[in-house]
Homo-oligomer: 763 residues x 2
């Protein structure tokens, strides 16, 4: 089994990292230098000529002549097997490639090139390690190159993947509790902000935990410091900046040369077009998943039916809906979208505080409670109904899915119980919805109101109930059922608020963090990630090694990784029936605003992220997100109302360079106008950025890959080989993405990874 | 009755105009100088402060203090009556005004100021004259100032307005033929490209026409030459450029100061919000009024039902739909939006020719014939069905209307008969559709194929049938009925194709124009306008003066104007029952591309226009369009695919300056993605340009005013006083436009008109 090399601790590195952090990496200037490969964005060269040649009947002679430049052999992706009988739909039509002839040092000195490659290699291994530990996804192509660099061979069997539950079969009750696993009898406790699982209470008291490998705290901080140093390192910045410029120009050339050919593939592809490709709204908050008009109609309708129903507790007195509205001096009949006032306008730009207030209809938190909360006097009935109406629209539209976020705050350990009761009671299930849990980073508020004594308690409230239910599912059937439909955790709040704290070995432990000040983003992220990692270990498989042997950290980690692999692909067949619950991915909001370190923390810990705007500010991180193909759910309409004007959104640039972006709505209630918010999001991006159909279908495909849809659904929507990267993994009949595009992306990624391999060889 | 001063002919002017034309006014440079009133577009000053003060409870004291700058008395619009008991909804809340204290010469010398005002005054009288002659709309406020300048008093009774038919009453058949007027027995003939009406054939042979005043040819050319000279005149260019910059800055200041107050008005306005304001899609082509997905579905559905129906004549052989698709080597079952290939993409940018080809589904003109034509083997049944489906969506959405264009080419005199048969046979009627006739400017193609002998014949084919049917409605009941639902004429085709011909007194008459070359845009426009003017005279009222007295042109024109007024408002009660048919407005595509003279011709002849992008290039014309409030139907998504990138569209700028803009889709089939193209158009504009709700509702109100909706419908949708300008004419309960905004617009327009009055006084 391949070893994951654990980079050594380096005190100098740490010191340097701290210096860098102190000098605020977030505002670094990226100069826009002119590179050799620049092509003007609207360059009309060849456009017309190519159109003429390629659009007319396939004149093979003519096309041959146009292919003179096709001299580059694509670097061999070692694992790309030679398919002998390629099915027609997998064939990549001939297309024109961009070949770079000569040396590849890309305008930096050989020394700088080597040191950059070394740093990038190490960064890749760091992410790979943490992804495996937590059952999260790591790019297969990147893994293949890492194994080659290490002189090993990549094996598909070694891969670790998140596991989500398949949709219920016909006749199966999605909320059925008949097949809940047995109690394992373990005990879960929190220590230093991390959950530990023990054989029994006695072992717990002695702190003799079972072997569910945690990420090691000091190694994590070393890794983080290494990455902080790397992203500030001059040569690496230059190198990655130039590579990214090259990627951009290369895509522009590719597009000029092959646009027509890509389109031809799509035209030849029967039945499938952009409208009936599956697309997932990868980032949407449940409390704002309806549009403003929908909410308005619902409020009016509820009043017509329920005016005399007791719906609220107003300062200790139970009041009917009529009384509630009277106390607010308004009548639902008069309400309009304007007076409802939930839409973000010019006033919210750069004002996240004002934006948050928009969640209150008519500015009244009472109405938010009544209509947009799961916990209230009517047990969240209205909120459930609204969500089910949204879901029914999606089911009707058939090809659209959404991943709404519900909140767990960590104020109280029974939040999970209440949330899952709401879910089960109102049967808020839809095949077109995959659920996510969002944890707002607002410890400071809770601490200020004395809801929690310290940060550790907040973490315990978030994680302990899930661990307990995982150990004994039948102890809390509703939560067990709900967790079956939850696919991940999100971390949310205003990133532009700076905490001033730097996460380091000297940071207080969560139980010691009892000041009112909020911990830093990175601190939150680490503890969320670490607990999710252990939780996933517990959910997939337990009790193989109930040893109490004390292992060194190094060995533990390696074991963890090996176990991960083993269980995921082999043990799943052996032990699945024993526990084999679904895992959770970590998908925080990241890089919407704030320091660049947020994106660095997510690089280490997150399966994928939402927003990612600030990748613009760090070429090193942007290049790393490209190399590891970390999915980014972008919401340009949300950004347009909050942080960044539409035309300046980096979506197009990221997409062109080959970062894996998807489109999402964030908050239809606040941002969208039409009945189909996700289509509105795609339409506006298509119009403003002039995306081609192939671009749009590629983005839609990315959204399915990024989502918490199950393996079975992904096979159904993308094709049986969707886990393979490159054209092999693309079933154009289902995705409507041109094979030429897939080949271009794959070859481009391999080329960049290959450069790193070459850079390390030199050494 | 007030006289309309007819400007004298001036040979020097003409010579100058010809020189200017020769030197191609279209590319003149408008320098972007810094003016005293510049305010950066994203200036945050006061935003937050004002929000704080104004949004909080109305603290009257505080607000008083903020109103120190309110010192400017709005220039008195003489006709604005003092309303004693203003209904609440008409009250304009207090708001902060921008006062300019001191002299008003606006940075130009006094001489230049006077000469500019003189020129602008004359330009306004020219437009007023031609609007009245053709029963088209002229700004009431502008008329009031013109009368003041002339020392007269404006009377509402003097106004001329277009007349459209009210929607059918309950139970009334919109296509009923029972009440068609009697035959007048007249004879209509074309001479020199103009229609004349005679008492009988004998009078026609002697060319003794009835007194339906035409625009005089040489006066028209003189007027045009004057305007050409005016828009090229240095001082006027400077003056108007500075006024426009001032208007822009003034609006920005207004917005900063009053945004919150405007929003407050809207929030206080019950029942009404942007969603249930009436909005009209003021520019849409019937052949592309469905979106691509709709067309695709329709094709598939038609095949499932009608595969064995004979639907087409293929090279003389009648074929079934199955055979037709077989001959094209495709099966509808396999069709996708991609293979349908009707959507404009990056390939169509700056390529109108390629865009036109997109009207052919799958690139096959046979399918265009079958699905998108009124004349084909199945009598346009499918096309009618598709349009009725679009109409039914609009009826369901309730608040949306559209004005689709159907083509009359002028190849053949029986085109009108066929079109109206199609209309009546398939009952293509909907209360949410108002019909327009578009005439493509493609004489050159018809002449090249020998379809017509000369341009005069094309004009005759377009107008003669309408004149004949107007004289004897019962001779062609179908056409008479169809004309009841037609509200105007459009002139369409690629404006960027330059003809090279200059319209002048030396231009050949239409009957002499027998070369293959296309006449210029202006030549087309003049003959369209002149015939529509006469047609409207005929349709409103006839036979009062069947005199054969030969009047001088001057007198004729004055008589025409007086008659117009008289008939429209008095005679309508007397003679209405006698004829009193609806009139047609002239609403050409104009300023999408091509020379600036297009916009000049439309200024003289058009009730309103579509596109108007090139107003960017001439400050004088832009200012004139502002002063006369000529409605402009803009389609930024269409422009984005064809001529101008979205972010560069002047829509926002025009709207801010106070030009009267509406939003329209142009071709949903080619440009839009969602099921609600007009909402998509509004949503994208709102997002990209950050329009406020008040902005959007103002644009929606403009669209109703611009449209061919009847007086009755406009009263219903905008309020009973909609014809009044300023806040008096606005019923916020129906339009959701803030009275503060209306007052700002009105005061601003009056201020600018007043400047001209002052400039003329000095003299």
């Amino acid at each position: 089994m391949p070893k994951v090399q654990v980079p050594e601790t380096d005190d100098n590195m740490r010191a340097f990292a701290e210096k860098v952090f102190a000098s605020e990496t977030k505002d670094e200037q990226v100069r826009d230098e002119i590179s050799l490969f620049d092509v003007a964005e609207d360059c009309p060269i060849l456009h017309q000529e190519m159109a003429h040649h390629l659009h007319a009947d396939d004149n093979a002679e003519k096309r041959k002549r146009l292919q003179r430049s096709r001299t580059m052999a694509a670097p061999q992706a070692a694992a790309a097997p030679v398919v002998v009988d390629t099915p027609t739909y997998l064939e990549v039509p001939d297309f024109q490639r961009v070949a770079i002839v000569g040396d590849y040092a890309a305008g930096v000195t050989m020394d700088d090139f080597e040191s950059s490659c070394k740093g990038l290699y190490r960064a890749l291994t760091i992410r790979e390690k943490y992804m495996r530990l937590a059952y999260q996804h790591f790019s297969r192509t990147a893994s293949q190159f890492l194994r080659q660099i290490e002189g090993n061979t990549f094996k598909v069997e070694d891969e670790v993947q998140p596991v989500f539950n398949a949709p219920p079969k016909d006749g199966e009750d999605p909320l059925g509790t008949s097949d809940l696993p047995e109690n394992l009898g373990y005990v879960a406790r929190m220590k230093d902000g991390l959950m530990y699982v023990y054989n029994d209470a006695a072992a717990a008291d002695k702190h003799q935990p079972k072997d569910l490998p945690h990420p090691d705290y000091s190694t994590f901080i070393d890794d983080m410091n290494f990455l902080i140093a790397l992203i500030a390192q001059g040569p690496t910045k230059t190198y990655t900046h130039r590579r990214l410029k090259f990627l951009m120009s290369k895509f522009n050339v590719h597009e000029m040369l092959n646009e027509m050919e890509e389109m031809k593939e799509l035209k030849m592809n029967p039945h499938r077009d952009f409208y009936n490709c599956r697309k997932v709204d990868t980032h949407i908050h449940a409390a704002a998943c309806m549009n403003q008009k929908h909410l308005l109609r619902f409020i009016k309708r509820s009043y017509r039916v329920d005016a005399d129903r007791v719906v609220h507790n107003l300062k200790g007195r139970e009041v009917t809906m009529r009384e509630l509205f009277e106390s607010l001096n308004l009548h639902p009949y008069d309400l309009t979208v304007d007076s409802l006032d939930v839409h973000a306008g010019r006033q919210t730009f750069q004002r996240f505080d004002k934006f948050n207030a928009k969640y209150n209809p008519v500015g009244a938190s009472e109405l938010r409670d009544l209509y947009l909360k799961t916990e209230n006097h009517i047990s969240g009935e209205y909120f459930a109904t609204i969500i089910k109406e949204v879901a029914s629209d999606l089911e009707e539209a058939k090809y659209q899915y959404a991943e709404p976020r519900l909140s767990i705050y960590g104020c109280n350990p029974n939040e999970w119980g209440k949330l899952s009761s709401w879910f089960v009671k109102h049967r808020v299930f839809s095949p077109n919805l995959k659920w996510m849990i969002q944890v707002p980073r607002i410890y400071d508020i809770f601490r200020g109101r004395n809801f929690v004594p310290h940060f550790g308690k907040m973490l315990e409230n978030i994680f302990l109930p899930v661990f307990q239910t995982t150990i004994d599912p039948q102890s809390n059937p509703e939560l067990s059922i709900f967790l079956k439909h939850v696919t991940g955790f999100d971390s949310v709040d205003d990133e532009s608020k700076h905490s001033g704290h730097m996460f380091s070995t000297k940071s207080p432990k969560p139980e010691e963090w009892d000041i009112v000040k909020n911990p830093s983003y990175t601190y939150y992220i680490y503890y969320m990630y670490a607990n999710i990692a252990v939780l996933n270990q517990l959910r997939r498989s337990v009790s193989l090694l109930s040893s109490t042997i004390h292992l060194t950290l190094e060995v533990k980690l390696m074991l963890a990784v090996s176990l991960g692999m083993f269980f995921c692909l082999h043990a799943s067949f052996l032990l699945f029936r024993q526990r084999g619950l679904n895992t959770f991915t970590f998908r925080p909001h990241c890089g919407e605003a704030g320091a660049i370190t947020h994106l660095l923390a997510a690089f280490m810990t997150a399966d994928n992220i939402s927003h990612g705007l600030n990748l613009k500010k760090s070429p090193v991180l942007q290049y790393l997100y490209f190399l590891t193909q970390i999915p980014i759910a972008m919401s340009p309409l949300s950004n347009n109302s909050l942080f960044l004007e539409y035309a300046k959104n980096p979506l197009l640039e990221f997409h062109q360079k080959g970062l894996m972006v998807s489109l999402s709505t964030d908050d239809p209630m606040q941002f969208h106008y039409t009945k189909e918010p996700l289509m509105e999001e795609y339409a506006i991006a298509a119009q403003v950025f002039k995306l081609s159909t192939c671009d749009m279908c590629e983005i839609a495909r990315n959204s399915v890959l990024q989502s918490g849809l199950s393996h079975e659904e992904k096979i159904h929507f993308l094709g049986s080989d969707y886990q393979k990267e490159g054209p092999e993994g693309n079933d154009i009949r289902k995705t409507n993405v041109a094979q030429i595009r897939m080949a271009y992306r794959f070859e481009t990624l391999c080329y960049e990874l290959n450069l790193i391999k070459e850079g390390l060889k030199v050494e």
